[in-house]
């Protein structure tokens, strides 16, 4: 007797369809699973056997062969438990075929027959919605499923519940999970006007930013406030960002509430940890920051190989991992925020403290980041230590909400001018550069010997500054400000 149940396996942020075929035939009692499953898939044997028995079903005393088709595709994870159990129940006529219909099934089994969530539930939901089939899975994922439009989700809490007949769609829970925790607010940051302004420009244009300053000057404090001035995620961004969190097995609730991801990996982070990798592949911090902010504190302390690996996502907005059995793509469109000391001792350029580093030490310290990566950082700004009196006596500064509103207005303004991607016009025409602004940029570029990419990126920053000012044209002053950000910390 044979039966099939549809499920899927994760590949990148996608769930690729897999058919679980069960063949139950008389013969020696064998239970084997074929079709390139990993160790977790093979362990399903023991979970399925126990779960069926403790749910009051019979595990067939026969030759049970499970095939996971297409057989050449590698399959991993525990989500195959439930589809395998169902295929066996269907093949042995312990459950009627109509109980399931055309639904796709995913879920891990406990030994008691309970159904549990697996990483990537959201990817499974998207895949089922795309194929217009219902999805059967754990009840704990039901609230999460509400974000996928057009999905018919049917929760199954326990294998034993299948005896009660057909499965029913989840009761409508369109209540979005509330935002968790409070974002740190810019009101806490005393003075630092230049850095605050740079943060605002970075937020408005999605530019990469580097904060340079001595220890304790507030670089980290400022960077942590960057997500708070970004506009909330739009529905499409929510889904994309939540997908990455889901397949990584992380809590996706705050993303679902529209809060932009903010990831701050420690500088001991490995290459695989930063851009993704491992076997089976997992998304890295760069992908977890998709549509949010990736903050690298102590920038030069990161492994050079890890930093250089960031160049691809910075350029393409995605990470492609190539493996012997195929390639995996994770989205990684993030704003890069970085912070570093100006030199190993940290006090180069400080008003009071003497720097103890030799010029060679400073050069080597900066050299760790490397030209190509530095080239992609558009806004570099100095954060200096404040006199203690000012810190103690100042009241709250401008709040994140006020800045966020200006950022939102600038983005809206930008959306209504001709798109710079229009290939038919020149760059300076597309960005609406005034002749004076153009001259400024050309002469400053010559001064700093900037690369073509650096000039383009500088013009983009100038455009963002003009958008913040609500100016249709990029004026000379906008170009000056943009150039200041690029040239400021070129060679501290």
């Amino acid at each position: 007797m044979q039966a099939t149940v549809d499920t899927a396996t994760l590949h990148g942020v996608e769930a690729l369809p897999v058919e679980v075929q069960a063949d139950v035939a008389p013969g020696l009692p064998v239970f084997s699973i074929v079709g390139l499953g990993d160790a977790a898939v093979h362990e399903a044997r023991d979970r399925v056997r126990s779960a069926l028995r403790s749910s009051g079903f019979d595990f067939p005393n026969a030759r049970v062969v499970i095939n996971l088709a297409p057989a050449p595709l590698r399959k991993h994870g525990t989500g195959f438990d439930l589809p395998i159990a169902l295929a066996i129940l269907l093949a042995t006529r312990q459950v009627a075929t109509r109980a399931l219909g055309a639904a796709a099934v995913v879920g891990e089994l406990g030994l008691d027959g309970s159904v549990r969530a697996v990483p990537g539930m959201l990817a499974h939901a998207v895949s089922a919605a795309r194929m217009s089939v219902p999805l059967v899975g754990p009840p704990e994922a039901a609230s999460l499923m509400a974000v996928v439009t057009g999905l018919d989700y049917r929760p199954l809490g326990h294998v034993g519940d299948l005896r009660n007949g057909a499965l029913h769609p989840a009761p409508g829970t369109d209540a979005r999970p509330p935002a968790v925790g409070l974002e740190p607010d810019l009101a806490d940051v005393v003075a630092q006007h230049a850095a605050r302004r740079a943060l605002e420009v970075a937020a408005a244009g999605g530019h990469n930013i580097l904060l340079v300053g001595p220890p304790g000057s507030g670089k980290t404090m400022l960077a942590r406030r960057l997500p708070g001035v970004l506009p909330p995620l739009d529905p499409l961004e929510v889904l994309e960002a939540a997908l990455v969190h889901s397949v990584a097995g992380l809590d996706e609730r705050s993303v679902l509430a529209g809060v932009r991801p903010f990831r701050a990996p420690h500088h001991s982070c490995s290459l695989a940890g930063l851009v993704g990798g491992g076997s089976p592949p997992r998304p890295g911090e760069a992908s977890l920051s998709h549509h949010g902010v990736l903050f690298l504190d102590e920038f030069p302390e990161f492994a050079p190989s890890a930093l250089q690996a960031l160049r691809q996502p910075l350029e393409d907005g995605c990470v492609t991992l190539v493996r012997a059995d195929g390639r995996v793509r994770y989205p990684a469109r993030f704003a890069l925020a970085t912070a570093m000391n100006p030199c190993p001792c940290g006090f180069l350029g400080d008003a009071e403290k003497q720097c103890l580093c030799t010029p060679d030490m400073v050069r080597r310290y900066m050299g760790r980041i490397g030209g190509p990566l530095m080239d992609r950082i558009d806004i570099r700004v100095r954060v200096d230590r404040l006199p203690s009196g000012r810190i103690l006596d100042s009241g709250p500064s401008e709040s994140s909400a006020v800045v966020r509103e200006r950022v939102r207005a600038a983005r809206e303004f930008a959306a209504h001018r001709p798109a710079p991607e229009d290939q038919s016009v020149s760059l300076s025409a597309a960005f609406m550069l005034r002749p004076a602004a153009r001259e400024t940029i050309v002469s400053l570029a010559n001064l700093g010997a900037l690369s073509g990419r650096a000039v383009t990126r500088m013009v983009r920053v100038a455009r963002t500054i003009a958008d913040l000012a609500g100016s249709e044209f990029v004026e000379e002053e906008h170009a000056f400000e943009a150039a200041t950000y690029r040239l400021a910390e070129e060679t501290p």
Binding site: P26, L28, F31, N61
Partner: protein, 127 residues
Amino acid sequence: MATDRSDARVELGKRGEEAAAAYLERLGYQIVDRNWRTKVGEIDIVALDGETLVLCEVKTRRSRRTGTPEDAVSATKQRRIARLAEAYLTSAGISGCPVRFDVIGLLVLAEDRALLRHHRAAFVLGD
């Protein structure tokens, strides 16, 4: 001395298998074969439980020092039994009937009594 000991062990195993067979017959099983052997090993008891062919491994122990008697049926032993089972089915010309692997463990308590434990469908083979 060595021969004495192994004689004693064979004797113990034999008595255990006798007891197990008697027990299965009392349950209404029909004993088909006893000590069916090939070069690689033997199947202690082959019996019919209704339509199901039961291949039974019997383990007898005097003490629980090395675990319960049935603990001795390791994964390696299970695979060996499976190979034997296939050989048996082929030689007996049986196909298409349900097959079950049972294990019977006997813990000898005294000269004339033992604790018997019967594991129906004790194991299922893996891949």
